[in-house]
C-alpha cells in the first residue's frame, strides 16, 4: 500500500530497513536515524527554548503571552492531527477549548468566592442561587477530571453521530463551525449560569496559589509549555505507530481502507476525540494565564484563528501546528500593537496566500524550494 504522507512515514522506513532484500539500496544509517528520530530531536530543541531559555530571559508579561500561545498551540496540534493526518477540517475546536476553559474558570470562580459562597456574577444577574452542575467544580480533582472527560465524552458522542454517518470533508467543516456558533450563542444567552457575554473573569487563586505571585505565574507557564512538549512526544509516537499510518491512509483513500476491512469512522473518531481533549486542555490552561474566558474566546472566529496557526506551520507536520500557533499568536499581538485594526487583513492574507501557494505550510517550504531548484536545473 503506497501512502503519501507529507512527511516520510517513519514506521515504513524502519520496516524497510529490517526486511529489505539485498540489492535494494538503503539510505545510509545516519539518514535513517534522522528520519526516525529527527522529530524527537526537534522536539528537544523546542523543549529547551520553551522550558529553559524563555523563562530565564523573557519578561513576565512576554512569558505570560507565550503561555497563552502555548495554550492555543495545544488546540492547534489537535487540529493538525485531525486535519493534517486525518483529513478532517475541524472549524469548531473553540467548543472544546471552551469546555476546558469554562470548567477551569468555574473552579477558579468558586475558589474566589470561598467555600459555601456563590460566584459574584450570579448575585448580580440572577437571584443568587447556583445551578446544581456548578457544585462539583468546587473540587479541584473533579475539575481536572472534567477537563479531560467532558470533551472526550462529548466528542465521542458527536463523532459517533456524524462520522459513522460518513459526514466528511466540507460538510464536517461546516457542521463543526455551526457547533461553535451555537455554543457561543448558548453561552451569551445563559448569562445567569455562565456569565453571558462577559464570560468568567476576576480570579484570585489557582488551586490555592495566589495568581498575582510572579513565581506562580511562571509555574503556570511551565505547565502550559510542558504539556505542549508532552503532547508533541505523544503525537510523535502516534504518527509513527500503526494507527498513524492508518489515519493517513484513511485521509488519502478512505474507500480502500474500508475495503481492506477497517472501519474508517473508528480511525477518524479516535483522532477527533484526541483533538477535542487537547483543545480542552489548552482552554483550561488559557484561563489562569489570560484571567478570562468569554464567548469571544470560543466562537467561530476564535476557532478559525486556531486553524490559522495550523495552516501556517504545516498541517501534516509534527511541529508545524505548534510553532505556527505560537507564530500566529506573536504576529497577532505585535501587529495589533502597531496597526490596531488591521489584524483581519493579515489573517485573511495569510489564509489566501498559504492556501494558494504553500498548502503544506512553512514546514513544506524546504522541500518545495528543493523541487523548484530541481526544476530550474
Amino acid at each position: 500500500m503506497t501512502v503519501t504522507a507529507a512527511s516520510t512515514p517513519e514506521a515504513a522506513a524502519t520496516d524497510a530497513a529490517t526486511t529489505a532484500p539485498a540489492g535494494i539500496r538503503r539510505k545510509p544509517l545516519p539518514a535513517r536515524l534522522f528520519t526516525t528520530y529527527g522529530g524527537l530531536v526537534a522536539i528537544g530543541v523546542l523543549a529547551y527554548v520553551l522550558m529553559v531559555w524563555a523563562p530565564g530571559s523573557m519578561s513576565p508579561f512576554r512569558l505570560g503571552n507565550l503561555g497563552k500561545y502555548c495554550a492555543f498551540a495545544l488546540a492547534s496540534m489537535g487540529i493538525g492531527l485531525a486535519w493534517g493526518r486525518g483529513g478532517m477540517l475541524l472549524m469548531g475546536q473553540g467548543v472544546f477549548f471552551g469546555i476546558g476553559g469554562y470548567a477551569m474558570a468555574m473552579h477558579m470562580k468558586l475558589e474566589a468566592a470561598g467555600a459555601g459562597n456563590v460566584p459574584d456574577f450570579m448575585q448580580l444577574y440572577g437571584d443568587g442561587t447556583m445551578p446544581f452542575w456548578w457544585e462539583p467544580f468546587r473540587s479541584g480533582a473533579f475539575t481536572i477530571f472534567a477537563i479531560v472527560a467532558v470533551p472526550a465524552v462529548v466528542s465521542l458522542l458527536l463523532g459517533l453521530a456524524i462520522l459513522k454517518r460518513r459526514v466528511k470533508g466540507a460538510y464536517l467543516a461546516i457542521l463543526t463551525q455551526a457547533l461553535a456558533v451555537a455554543f457561543a450563542t448558548l453561552l451569551v444567552a445563559t448569562i445567569k449560569e455562565t456569565g453571558g457575554f462577559n464570560g468568567l473573569n476576576t480570579f484570585t487563586t489557582f488551586f490555592g496559589h495566589n495568581l498575582y505571585d510572579p513565581e506562580v505565574k511562571k509555574n503556570i507557564y511551565r505547565i502550559a509549555a510542558g504539556l505542549v512538549i508532552v503532547f508533541l512526544v505523544i503525537l510523535w509516537q502516534l504518527y509513527r505507530s500503526r494507527y498513524g499510518e492508518l489515519l493517513v491512509a484513511t485521509r488519502d483513500a478512505e474507500e480502500r481502507i474500508r475495503f481492506l476491512g477497517y472501519d474508517p469512522a473508528n480511525i477518524k473518531l479516535f483522532a477527533f476525540v484526541v483533538a477535542a481533549v487537547m483543545a480542552s486542555i489548552g482552554g483550561a490552561l488559557f484561563v489562569p494565564i489570560a484571567g478570562i474566558i468569554s464567548p469571544t474566546n470560543v466562537d467561530a472566529a476564535a476557532s478559525i484563528l486556531l486553524i490559522a496557526g495550523v495552516a501556517l506551520g504545516g498541517r501534516a507536520s509534527l511541529l508545524g501546528p505548534a510553532i505556527g500557533a505560537i507564530a500566529v499568536g506573536y504576529g497577532r499581538s505585535s501587529l495589533s500593537e502597531k496597526y490596531p485594526d488591521n489584524w483581519s487583513y493579515f489573517q485573511g492574507a495569510l489564509f489566501i496566500l498559504v492556501m494558494l501557494f504553500l498548502p503544506g505550510g512553512i514546514s513544506s517550504l524546504w522541500s518545495k524550494l528543493k523541487s523548484l531548484a530541481g526544476r530550474v536545473r
Binding site: L89, I162, V167, I174, L179, F351, I352
Partner: protein
Amino acid sequence: MDVLTTPLLTGTATGAILLLAALGLTLTFGQMGVINMANGEFLMIGAYVAYMTQQVISGAGVSILVALPVAFVFAGLLGLILEVTIIQWMYQRPLDTLLATVGVSLVLQQAARDIFGAQGDPVTAPSWMGGRISVFGYEWPHRQLFTILLALGAFAALNAVLKYSSFGRRIRATVQNRELAETMGISTRNVDRLTFFLGSGLAGVGGVAIALISGTNPTLGISYIIPAFLVVVVGGVGQLKGTLIAAWAVGVVTAFLTDWTSGSMAQVLTFALVVVFLTVRPQGLFTVRTRSLA
C-alpha cells in the same frame, strides 16, 4: 390563531431571507462543489449597495428597485474576480478553497469596517413597504411580504435559467459529467465563471433584502453564512427545491422556537435539530442518485 399565524408568517419571511442567502450557495456549492465562505460577504456587499444607491438616489421607492440589479452585477463581478484570482487554482482541493475564502471574507469584512465604519447604517424602506395587511388577525408588514416575493422570484428565475436556457443546460451538463460536456464543445471554464457570477450576484440581491430589514453591518455576512450553508446541506446539495423547502422549514422552526423560548436559544436549538437531522439523513432532503462511492 395568533399563536400559530404570527410565527408561521414571520418564519416564512425569515425563511425567504435564508433562501436568498442560500440560493447563491446552492449554485456554487451544489453545482460546482466549491465552498465559498465569502458568500456571506457578498450579502453584505449587496446591503451596502442598497445603502449607497440610497445616498445617490434620494427617493427610497426608486432606489431599492435600482439597487437590486446594481447589487446583482456588483456582487457578481466581485465573485467573478474571486473565481479568477483564487478559486480556479484550487478546484481539486475543496477544504483549501474553504479556508482561502475564509481569508477573503476576513479581508472584505475589515474593508467594509474601514470604508463604512464599524457601526451599521440604516437603509430606509420605501413608503409602499411601510403598510401592513391583516392575515388571520396578524398585522403582517408589507416588508416581509416583499422579501418573500423577492426570494420566490429569484428562485423561479434561477430555476428557469437552469432548466430552459442554453446556459442552464450547459451548467447542468458540466455538473453531471465534466469530461463529456467538454467533448461536446462546452467550455467548462466559461461555465464555471458564469456560474460563479450568477451565484455571487444572487447573494447581492439577497443583501438588498436584508438591508431593508436590519440595515447594513460589516458583520452581516457572518450571521448568515452558517445558517445558509446548513440550509443547502439539509436541502440536499445542488437541489433547488430542497433548498426552498429547507429554507422555509428552518425559518418557521426558528420562529416557533423563538416564540417558545428566546431568540438565541432558538438559534441553538435549530442548529441542534439540523445536526440531528443530518445524522439521520446525511445526504439531505433530496439527492441525485449516483453510483459513486459513499
